[in-house]
């Protein structure tokens, strides 16, 4: 540690080892990814944009990308619907309930992804909890197919990513000025109206932050997508893996990764920028 004011650049000396590591093991590989995506074929003969044209002109590839982005959007919306009530109860309750909710939110964050996904295989499986409950209650005549379906995958991903949504929403609700809701209440607004016209607009930045986190996490969740969605639902992560490791078509898989990366980060930055522009004046989360 150098006392402030001596030499500003000497302070950066301890940063150098990590910066070198990042150049070698992060910047260089990404540059290689871009380079490889520009090769014409897996034998690396000549540069061209053919991999990207191949993606754009292939309806299957385009469908895989749009399905993946749609999955992220759907999961993030479902998580948002569940996170708000949870956050409202959290803010309104005493220390015991707050600790309980915090514990419940942390629990999935700390459990391994494979374990969480495995739990959903047990819940959704043919002999799983939902099927045996419905059969024993006589509501269903035969076990339903829940595993390896789109809906099952959305449900599992919603639970797995819910903490990423709940934390920012709780944080922005905690920062909300209580006088505003009390004023609305005093003026005779119903609870639902207070939520829609006061709480929701003022906590929107937190909700958008959470939505983006869950969107990106759900779209890239390889393990849950392949195990709960099954082999018939092909999404970008498994498509990239299959092209890279299965087919060994490195230029195309590199192009796929870059397109996917640009699509996900592009949406995250665009939504983030739009929300900052239109929500100016609202306390940023």
């Amino acid at each position: 540690m150098v006392p402030a004011g001596t030499n500003a650049s000497r302070q950066l000396l301890p940063v150098i080892p990590l910066a070198v590591l990042f150049l070698a093991a992060f910047v260089l590989p990404l540059a290689a990814l871009v380079l490889v995506s520009l090769f014409r074929d897996p034998q690396f003969s000549g540069l061209s944009l053919v991999q990207y044209l191949r993606f754009i002109s292939d309806p299957f590839s385009l469908k895989v990308l749009s399905d993946t982005l749609w999955l992220g959007a759907e999961v993030a919306l479902a998580a948002l619907v569940l996170a708000y009530p949870l956050a409202l109860v959290y803010v309104a309750s005493g220390p015991f309930m707050r600790t309980l909710i915090t514990f419940l939110i942390m629990l999935p964050l700390l459990t391994s992804t494979v374990v969480r996904t495995f739990a959903w295989i047990v819940i959704l499986g043919r002999d799983g909890i939902i099927n045996s409950a419905m059969l024993s209650l006589g509501l269903w005549q035969a076990p339903a197919r829940l595993l390896y379906t789109w809906e099952g995958m959305v449900l599992a991903l919603t639970q797995i990513q819910l903490p990423l949504m709940a934390l920012p929403v709780i944080n922005s609700l905690l920062r909300l000025d209580g006088n505003l809701t009390r004023a609305a209440e005093g003026l005779g607004a119903s609870r639902a109206r207070i939520f829609l016209t006061v709480i929701l607009p003022l906590t929107l930045p937190g909700a958008i932050a959470g939505w983006l986190l869950v969107f990106a996490a759900a779209a890239t969740a390889f393990i849950t997508q392949t195990l709960v969605g099954g082999g018939r639902i092909i999404l970008m992560p498994s498509y990239i893996y299959q092209q890279a490791v299965g087919v060994q078509d490195w230029p195309f898989s590199a192009a796929l990764s870059l397109i996917f990366t640009l699509a996900v980060t592009g949406i995250v930055f665009a939504v983030g920028a739009l929300s900052r522009r239109y929500l100016r004046g609202v306390d940023a989360a």
């Binding site: 540690m1 006392p3 402030a4 500003a8 650049s9 302070q11 950066l12 940063v15 080892p17 990590l18 590591l21 990042f22 093991a25 992060f26 590989p29 290689a32 990814l33 569940l82 996170a83 009530p85 949870l86 409202l88 109860v89 419940l104 942390m106 629990l107 999935p108 459990t111 391994s112 992804t113 494979v114 374990v115 495995f118 739990a119 295989i121 047990v122 819940i123 499986g125 002999d127 909890i129 045996s132 639970q159 903490p163 934390l167 005779g188 119903s190 609870r191 639902a192 109206r193 939520f195 990106a216 890239t220 393990i223 195990l227 992560p237 490791v245 590199a254 990764s257 870059l258 996917f260």
Partner: protein, 269 residues
């Protein structure tokens, strides 16, 4: 009359969704623990009868124990590397107002934004282009990059809270830089370091996207092995592994909570 009905409806909806949300958060972990004690050979729930047979079976499954040990070693190495390099960088960056410091901070945080599959593939490509053979070392390198953002954020937050006057005091009283670092800075940012080590370890231990491309037959790691098992069959041994992981994580959390108040650190991330 009208209003109280709407209010009741509102409380009903919020209450129902909250209960559902809490159940949803808790259920999977409980389900895994319960099913791991089944006596059956399928994942039938509730289990027909109870036993420890899958834990016994697990102890005899070398093909699961070996990847688990690899995962622990890789996670330990990646945690130490990212904590030392990332911690040093966080100390350097936290007080700097230089533009380059901002740029480096953004660079160190970017593995969090980038889909990790793309990073995993890019590492595989660069190692192949440079003729570097995949090994435990290349795996540790990839995991370290993924863990660094957590260290930068958490240690950085601790450094921000540190009062710089304390360091100036220590130096002006004649203590060396090293002594000041050891006796003043380090104890004050200990919580951030412990919390970030905990999160980094879990991140590496749980990592799939990077390991998927960098792990080969000799460096097979646990999550990839479990994924491969589950893709092929619904093996009940995975339940026993999951039970062990859940219990070890909870034990780790208790330890980290005692030494570093981890939940507060993660909550304020």
């Amino acid at each position: 009359m009208q209003r109280s009905f709407i209010d009741r409806l509102y409380f009903g909806v919020v209450g129902t969704l909250t209960s559902f949300g809490m159940l949803l958060l808790l259920a999977p972990t409980l389900v895994v623990l319960v099913i791991s004690f089944t006596d059956g050979i399928t994942l039938k729930f509730p289990p027909p009868s109870w036993s420890l047979r899958w834990y016994v079976e697990l102890l005899q499954s070398q093909e699961i124990i070996a990847p688990a040990l690899t995962s622990l070693k890789v996670a330990a190495a990646a945690t130490i590397l990212s904590a030392v390099l990332g911690g040093a960088a966080a100390l350097g960056l936290a007080r700097s107002r230089l533009k380059i410091a901002r740029a480096l901070d953004a660079l160190f945080m970017s593995p969090m934004v980038l889909p990790a599959m793309a990073f995993g593939l890019s590492l595989l490509l660069v190692f192949n282009l440079l003729g570097i053979r995949l090994s435990a070392a290349t795996l540790v390198l990839g995991h370290t990059i993924i863990c660094v953002p957590f260290v930068i954020r958490m240690v950085g937050a601790s450094v921000q809270q540190l009062n710089p006057v304390l360091i100036t005091c220590s130096l002006s009283l004649g203590a060396s830089h090293w002594y000041t670092f050891r006796r003043i800075t380090l104890p004050l940012i200990r919580r951030g370091i412990v919390a970030s080590c905990f999160v980094a370890f879990l991140t590496s231990f749980d990592n799939v996207p990077v390991s998927l491309f960098l792990a080969d037959a000799r460096t097979e790691v646990l999550p990839i092995k479990l994924w491969a098992i589950l893709e092929g069959s619904l093996d009940v041994r995975v339940a026993a592994v999951s039970g062990v992981i859940v219990l070890l994580t909870l034990a780790g959390l208790v330890c980290a909570e005692i030494f570093g108040g981890v939940s507060r650190q993660i909550g304020s991330r």
